[in-house]
């Protein structure tokens, strides 16, 4: 019982710490990686709360797919050179 409680408390603290690290991180890549691990631990949290459906969804979507999306977005943002990042202006405002 106490071991389980200790595990839960540790899980909560780690989640809060990870969340803070994601927000405070200056390096976006690091933030994304931390976000993925946050999602994984969150899924564990759902398991502890006896919500296996949520845990599955969190692991697959919240952590896996969202992480992949972030990484791909990151690659597109950093892969664009400054002169290439030309957003076309709308013709209305000529």
């Amino acid at each position: 019982m106490t071991a389980v409680n200790a595990f839960d408390i540790l899980l909560c603290l780690t989640l809060i710490w990870l969340a803070w690290q994601v927000l405070a991180s200056r390096d976006p890549f690091r933030a994304v990686v931390l976000f993925i691990s946050f999602g994984m631990l969150m899924a564990l949290g759902w398991v502890r709360l006896q919500a296996p459906d949520l845990a599955l969804a969190e692991a697959a979507i919240g952590s896996g797919l969202t992480g992949a999306l972030f990484l791909s977005a990151l690659r597109k943002v950093t892969g664009t050179k400054k002169d290439e990042r030309r957003l076309d202006r709308d013709e209305e405002a000529q």
């Binding site: 845990a55 599955l56 969804a57 999306l69 597109k76 957003l87 076309d88 000529q94």
Partner: protein
């Protein structure tokens, strides 16, 4: 092109702009803290009612019964949310943006795909099937299928050619459209919108889940791809050889 007086730049008053947002976050914190410190008399919820109607609902799992029968309308709208996500992402795509670098197709990734993709499709199908009486269901299965799609998109795998290019948009629409038609068909049979009951219900639910999972998986993969398929008029400009990978 002259500058018409444009709106004030956001920079000069960013500070006070954040105040209402911070106040809102404080409110969240207070709400959660209060709920934790004074749990109070917890209400019974609807679990008893769900159990009482489970037999008429057609599936053994409470979650699936709620998602695909009692509150199927919510799930119908959720399917539209995903489709909407793809629409918005595609509408933001600009053809003249910088060409993103193609990642080098590594041998490890290719063999990983051969190993994992069939497995993921199998796990996805299992989750779909298992959803009727334990954890799992359309969204989880769709997410796994979407993961398989993302894996294939990582290096524009030749396996993508299996999926016909013209089938992408209809595939995305399949789930929402099928859901809508089931609802309307129920009305044609003289019932309410999305009304189905026990013996037929389990079959209808499996069919709905299958269509929804397929479209959800495709939506998630398309979100990752981020690029709409070329239309006929524009085909001449791009290499026609690349198959579904073109929406990456």
């Amino acid at each position: 092109m002259k500058k018409g007086g444009k709106g004030r730049t956001p920079r000069d008053n960013r500070g006070w702009r954040l105040l209402p947002v911070m106040a809102l976050l404080l409110l969240f914190l207070a709400a959660l803290a209060r709920a934790y410190l004074f749990p109070g008399a917890s209400a019974a919820g609807l679990a008893a009612r769900v159990d009482a109607s489970l037999a008429a609902g057609g599936v053994g799992s409470r979650v699936t019964a709620v998602l695909l029968n009692f509150r199927a309308y919510d799930t119908l709208l959720e399917c539209f949310v995903l489709l909407l996500g793809v629409m918005v992402v595609w509408s933001l795509w600009r053809p003249d943006g910088a060409k993103s670098r193609e990642p080098a197709a590594g041998a490890i990734l290719a063999s990983l795909e051969r190993l994992l993709v069939p497995l993921m499709i199998m796990v996805g199908s299992y989750l779909l099937w298992a959803g009727s009486d334990r954890a799992g269901g359309a969204f989880q299965a769709g997410a796994i299928l979407g993961g398989a799609g993302v894996l294939l998109l990582l290096d524009s795998s030749p396996l993508l050619k299996v999926f016909p290019k013209r089938g992408l948009v209809p595939g995305l629409c399949l789930g929402p459209l099928f859901f809508l038609s089931v609802g309307i068909a129920a009305m044609a049979w003289g019932g309410n919108f999305l009304e189905y009951r026990s013996p037929e219900a389990s079959l209808i639910i499996i069919a709905l889940e299958g269509a929804a999972a397929f479209s959800i998986g495709l939506c998630l993969a398309a979100l990752f791809g981020g690029r709409p398929p070329e239309r006929q008029a524009e085909d001449g400009r791009d290499q026609p050889s690349r198959n579904q990978g073109e929406f990456r």
